[in-house]
Amino acid sequence: MHTVDLRGVCCPTNFVKAKLALEMVDEGTVVELLLNDGEPVKNVPRSLKGEGHKLLGLKQAEEGHYVLTIEKVGE
């Protein structure tokens, strides 16, 4: 699976980078985003949902960061 590591990237640059990564893949592709706890995990999923993408899952990893699984919707 395509994974984008956005740990250590501040808001809103993490969202901007996630959005650019999703632009690069075909519709229906599932992408995994690694996000820090706090602001990033609060904001990025919501913003990507606002863009029309489908949130498939959000799990906290043992190391403390979050793994957001998202399906690209739209061209």
Partner: protein, 271 residues
Amino acid sequence: MLTDEQIERYSRHIMLKEVGGKGQKKLFDGKVMMIGAGGLGSPIALYLAAAGVGTIGIADADVVDLSNLQRQIAHHTRDIGTPKVESAKAKMTAMNPDVTVNTYETWVNAANVREIIAGYDFVIDGTDNFAAKFVINDACVLAGKPYSHGGILQFDGQTITVQPGESACYRCIFPTPPPKDAIPTCSRAGVIGVLPGVIGTIQATEAVKFLLGKGELLTGRLLTYNALRMKFREVPIRKNPRCPICGDNPTITDLVDELDAMNVCDIQNNK
């Protein structure tokens, strides 16, 4: 592919649903020709450069004068005596080194306007005289090139976007220039300094939207603005079937200068 620095610089664009990385690329690939580097041209130049419009052409034969600085915000006190196109280019590239600025240190006229606008996607009229406004309209209509008209005087401004063949052009509204003595210029009539900021910024917005292919352009409606009463008004304008250039039986089929509409200083400069 955007660099990390570009991602940061354009992040507030990329975040927008209507822009994104793809839209930002459209702006990079966009070519906008702006005629006039004065009051209207200043905000146009600065905002287009800031937005990352990749190629910006800028035409003006004038040099910066002390009396310009009350409204022509791309020019600074130390630029007095410098060609306006050079002064504007310096600010644009200092703000955003990503953009290419082509300068044309000339007045536009029937002999050169066609060549100046060729190769650009969108044209912006930020000039201060009717001769230029008519010849820019005619050149854009004949070349089928979309453009934004803007005009200001005292406390009033107006702007309309023209999609040749599809929407009304400047001559659909004003078939010929006003009588020679009925034309006051900014230098004779005065202009409130913030006015070109409002109108020029709207014109730059139209160029950006055109390049993005998003939203609705200001076509088929003349937007007028009065700063004293703080009122915007929209006047619907249909294509005029009797328009001398884009009507059913056009009488203007080639570019000509409207000599009567020229300012005395323009005529001297065109010699």
